[in-house]
């Protein structure tokens, strides 16, 4: 009788550490290569990894919220493209940077609110609604950019993701700090607020949530809109990174983000997932990319590896859950 609590607590601990173990495993595997070891842990490379993580990580913050609530958003990549193009166009027209930043984020929020409203009011599948939005937003981005890449002038925006001293870890670019701050904020929202509890409740059992008087449809709109704001921030980072508004950028980004969230332990059925896990998931993806680049592996190898890792991570998760139950 005494044995059971201990094992269940062990399992809970393992659950919590799972993503970390994955991260260590990935880093450790790359560190096996003697030519990679000296490069991998330099400040410059770590900084690069963090910088490469930012966009996926910020997107994963919003996606975690959506997936935990039992939904999905496929329009993130297009949303990032549209918001970054809008920013570039506005900057090119001489709008002041702070207002542009605000509008970029707001546009992301609007896209999310539209998604959420359609899902909630028509009781449609999030998959379908956001699949549609994926096309619509991408098309709007191309129209807004006139089907070409829009160069943005130097401004505050471009500074967010710039590496001031490329050879040391610190100072980190502002974008990394922003992502970190947002992650802490979202972790608090998910864990410590009533709103966060409602997100888990809706994802865990929508019927129960309704029974408990949670205005499920209203919260869905809110969840998608808030996540949209975060996707807007991801769009801002995208624009800052290259300082151009490219309507064909971030194709397939939504899948990277979903992968990060799922590797981080969230279930696509909703009800489980954590911000910390998703952040680790995003890091795992970035380390995989970075390591493969450093090894000089061709692009297709990276794709094969990342694809396998996603299935492996979720497969392990499933195994753990079934052993949990018996």
């Amino acid at each position: 009788m005494n044995e059971q609590p201990r094992t269940s607590r062990m399992l809970a601990l393992l659950n919590w550490f799972g993503p970390f173990i994955g991260l260590f495993a990935v880093v450790g595997l790359f560190a096996l290569s003697s030519e990679l070891r000296p490069v991998l842990f330099t400040g410059a490379n770590l900084k690069l990894v963090l910088l490469q993580t930012v966009i996926v990580a910020v997107g994963a913050l919003g996606m975690t919220m959506i997936i935990v609530s039992g939904g999905i958003d496929l329009s993130v990549g297009s949303s990032v493209a549209l918001t970054s193009v809008l920013g570039a166009v506005l900057l090119a027209n001489g709008w002041p940077a702070p207002i542009v930043i605000l509008l970029i984020i707001l546009l992301g929020g609007v896209i999310g609110a539209v998604n959420g409203s359609i899902i909630a009011s028509l009781r449609m599948m999030p998959f379908i609604v956001t699949l549609g939005m994926m096309g619509v937003a991408r098309g709007l981005a191309k129209w807004l950019a006139g089907n070409v890449t829009v160069n943005a002038p130097e401004s505050l925006v471009g500074g967010l993701m710039r590496r001031i001293s490329p050879n040391t870890l610190f100072p980190l670019p502002a974008g990394v700090w922003i992502a970190f701050g947002l992650a802490v904020l979202m972790a608090i929202v998910m864990r410590q607020t009533i709103f966060g509890r409602y997100i888990f409740a809706i994802g865990s059992n929508e019927a129960t949530a309704r029974l408990c008087g949670i205005r499920v449809q209203r919260y869905k709109v809110l969840i998608y809109a808030l996540a949209g704001l975060l996707f807007g921030v991801a769009g801002l980072m995208q624009l800052s990174r290259l300082n151009v508004g490219d309507p064909t950028v971030a194709i397939g980004l939504e899948l990277d983000i979903i992968a990060a969230v799922v590797i981080g332990g969230a279930s696509l059925n909703g009800g489980t997932g954590s911000i910390l896990g998703s952040m680790i998931g995003a890091l795992i993806m970035a380390v995989l990319r970075n390591g493969s680049n450093q090894m000089g592996w061709p692009n297709y190898m990276q794709e094969i590896i990342i694809g396998s890792v996603i299935v492996l991570a979720v497969g392990l998760d499933r195994l753990r859950q079934t052993s949990d139950r018996t």
Binding site: P5, S8, Q192, T193, I194, F195, G196, R197, F200, A201, S204, N205, A207, T208, A209, R210, L211, C212, G213, I214, R215, G271, T272
Partner: protein, 494 residues
């Protein structure tokens, strides 16, 4: 079937069952909800294995290994809920799983022909074989379902509550079909609550009660009152605690309340400090009434007064604010978030006592929940344990605890003791009494008559979406409730 027994964990679902059906006989299997009819039929159709006893089919021992095997041996089952694929055509449905084919290529012409023949044997060749099933009426769908079963040339056909979703004329058509089948030598086991129906179509009957065969005989000569007595005649061995409580002013009034299909026309008054029981058979509209009351289903007609205010329409969240709480009959699918903690499940309607500006104070939440765990005697290791890991009785206490934590003034309890152990049941009875003494108004829906008689002040009986009788509990007997529940107008008062 001789001496069939079946246990599920601690519950002995079937004790000692005898059932004998002659070829071509229509046999009524009668019993209350939970008497073991479904379990028995699931054993016969191979879904469960018996723990003891034997089954013989055509004089040879018969041990169905699985439903497929049972079907091959000629045992077919028609479930209460239809199991057709709604988007496929009639012919496709009838031959689903046994399509006529040659080397994997479908023979459409032959399929339609076989479907047509099957429908013709039922006297319903008028149903088009190419129509998608979801465009047929419920009655027609049922005929398709029977036709599908006939393809397997069954020797025994089990029908579980086949008329529960049918109108009277459709039911007559069904009886005609049953007669045809019986003339062709097919034995029919006909499960129904409606005794007149059984009298209409069945030759013999077997009554089950608490998992035992308590009587059988010739249906045509049997008195319905005798059968009812057989159905309910069990000794009451559970302890019902009666906490003295005072009944006050009306808090909830229903006037001609009707939902989309059920309830049809319900009048009800619930007073402060009263425990009002609602009895009735499955499908009588009890759950639907509660759901409509709680705003989960629309109210299409009539008015609901709460504390004398017109509160006919409202969402569940309005209802909770008005002080009405619902305990779902479906604990696992609706009542609880199984993979969330006890604490989150218990407090999800009211975070106010331990939150500020939308932030939850986890420590104070757990302390508050610990109080409830102690008060309700919930057996859990800690407040953060997942509800899925608790036993049924403790899960139910968590669900009930949510209503208490919310401090609802009107509690709508739908089957609060379903599937839980006797100890927890007794605790819940006691709790309900205490709540009434505190001045809460309680609606108690249950299919288990002794508990209704044991703890309610008044009992209303529903039948086909309406309340057929309402009387103080001491004036009811189990026979009387059953009679009212199956629509025996003669024994129910006006």
């Amino acid at each position: 079937m001789t001496g069939v027994q079946k246990r599920f964990g601690a519950t002995q679902a079937l004790r000692n069952v005898f059932l004998e059906v002659a070829p071509g006989e229509v046999h009524a299997l009668i019993g209350e909800n939970g008497a073991g009819k479904s379990t028995l039929m699931k054993i016969l159709s191979g879904a469960y294995k018996p723990d003891a006893g034997s089954i013989e089919l055509d004089g040879a021992p018969f041990v169905p290994a699985n439903p497929h095997h049972a079907r091959q041996c000629g045992i077919a089952m028609i479930y209460q809920e239809l199991t057709l694929a709604p988007h496929l055509s009639v012919a496709e449905n009838i031959l689903l799983g046994c399509e006529p084919s040659r080397r994997g290529w479908l023979n459409r012409k032959r399929r339609r022909e076989m479907a047509r023949v099957a429908l013709a044997t039922l006297g319903h060749e008028n149903i088009s074989c190419d129509k998608p099933v979801h465009r047929l009426s419920i009655a027609e769908q049922q005929i398709v379902e029977i036709a599908r079963v006939l393809i397997g040339q069954p020797k025994v056909l089990i029908m579980d509550e086949p008329t529960s979703s049918l109108a009277q004329t459709d039911a007559e058509r069904l009886f005609a079909i049953i007669e045809r089948l019986s003339k062709r030598g097919v034995s029919v086991v006909y499960i129904s609550h409606f005794l007149e129906e059984c009298k209409r179509v069945c030759a013999r009957y077997t009554v089950l009660r608490d998992g035992e065969t308590v009587g059988n005989g010739d249906m045509q000569t049997a008195e319905i009152t005798d059968i009812i007595r057989l159905m309910v005649g069990r000794e009451v061995d559970e302890i019902y605690t009666r906490v003295p409580h005072e009944i006050g002013d009306p808090v909830l009034e229903l006037r001609h309340v009707a939902g989309r299909t059920k309830p049809r026309d319900v009048d009800l008054v619930l007073r402060k400090g009263e425990v009002l029981g609602i009895a009735g058979l499955i499908g009588a509209g009890r759950t639907e009434t509660l759901r409509a009351l709680f705003g989960l289903d629309p109210i299409c007609n009539g008015t609901v007064l709460l504390f004398s205010w017109d509160r006919t329409h409202g969402t569940p969240s309005d209802r909770l604010q008005q002080g009405v709480g619902l305990l779902s009959e479906n604990r696992k699918e609706e009542g609880l978030m199984l993979d969330r903690s006890v604490a989150d499940n218990l407090t999800s309607t009211r975070y106010a006592p331990f939150s500020r500006l939308g932030f939850v104070n986890g420590f104070r939440q757990r302390r508050c929940v610990s109080d409830w765990i102690r008060r309700l005697d919930i057996r859990t290791r800690r407040a953060t344990q997942r509800v899925a890991e608790l036993s049924g009785g403790n899960q139910q206490k968590v669900a009930l605890g949510r209503l208490l934590h919310h401090d609802a003034a009107v509690l709508l309890l739908d089957e609060p003791t379903r599937g839980i152990d006797v100890g927890s049941k007794a605790q819940i009875y006691k709790l309900i009494g205490e709540l009434a003494a505190e001045g809460k108004a309680i609606v108690f829906v249950s299919s288990y008559l002794p508990e209704l008689l044991g703890i309610c002040d008044r009992i209303a009986v529903m039948c086909r979406g309406q309340i057929t009788a309402i009387r103080p509990a001491p004036e009811w007997t189990e026979d009387g409730i059953i009679a009212a529940a199956i629509g025996q107008g003669a024994t129910s008062p006006s």
